[in-house]
Symmetry: C2
């Protein structure tokens, strides 16, 4: 039955490999240690350019197929030049991509064929925080809303369960909803 289901449903996710990795890494915790990296160079004003290329995992240095670069800036309404998306929009992009990849992986595992998935995401912020105008206002989002629009060969209940399981296993959902220690130092 599994074989038939795998032939019928193709979301482009290699679930067999992921299940194999889960089993293998469960027995080899050292290989499960990853370090993700980025290097950011200040350009001018609030504009910076970050490159992502190497990471560590499975016990050794790894390299992406190519280097990914990102321009980040503040918008013109902040008296900046808008040379890139804002830092907080990058965080929303990461959350959307994480949850969407999870939906595809869980759908594959559950033999649910996806036809389309769109996530619209919104983060509210009172910018009196970052401007230092009111110390009672936090700097970050006061809340984030994600709405999924999914066309799949599944019931609404199955689709809701997909999205729920994606949250359960999402790295970025965890990063945003729970605290993480960040150490900043000067070389």
């Amino acid at each position: 039955m599994t074989t038939i289901a795998e032939k019928q449903v193709d979301n482009g996710v290699n679930v067999a490999a992921l299940l194999g990795a889960r089993e293998a890494l469960g027995k080899a915790p050292e290989a499960a240690r990853f370090n993700w990296r980025a290097t950011c160079k200040w350009m001018r004003g609030t504009h910076s350019r970050t490159s992502v290329k190497d990471f560590f995992g499975l016990g050794q240095e790894q390299t992406h197929r190519r280097e990914f670069t990102f321009d980040i800036d503040h918008p013109e309404v902040f008296a900046s030049e808008d040379n890139g998306a804002t830092p907080v929009e990058l965080v929303l992009t990461g959350l959307a991509g994480c949850l969407t990849a999870g939906v595809a992986a869980v759908a594959q595992q559950r033999s649910i064929q996806l036809h389309s998935v769109t996530a619209t995401i919104e983060g509210g912020m009172d910018i009196r925080g970052i401007l230092g105008a009111d110390s009672d206002v936090r700097n970050g989002f006061d809340g984030v809303k994600v709405k999924f629009d999914i066309d799949a060969d599944a019931t609404r209940e199955q689709i809701e369960a997909l999205v729920a399981q994606s949250q359960n296993r999402s790295a970025v959902f965890d990063i945003i909803t729970n605290p993480t220690n960040v150490t900043v130092s000067v070389a």
Copy 2:
């Protein structure tokens, strides 16, 4: 003296406009409400493409000078096609860009000329969390380290104070270090 300092130091940040905004928005909290947005479309497998274009702020709809698009994927070691940076690398990119913009803005306000700023950032993760191999392992980072290398006309103490103040006002630093409510729904 302020005028002389402003002539001598140019980091490309319009501090006068930011100070004006701080004063104006302190008196007009409604204008300080921003909504940042992203729209993510699933491509195939773990690959998605997100666009960032519009946001809300200063009491009205705003538009970036152009649309910014981001491809996100998982790497080949996750049995994926590596069509883009990973979601968690996007979060690191957001943090690096946020802190770097803050360093430039604070330096300008303190009349410190920057020559170069590089931030190297690393997030550790035990991927047994996202694989569901061990429910005691969290999905997100177990910690994030940022190291700044800054060349500026300033003492080491002044540079350390710049970086510290940038953290104090950073949206993404707050988002990662503190919990935020995320609501996920199905349309």
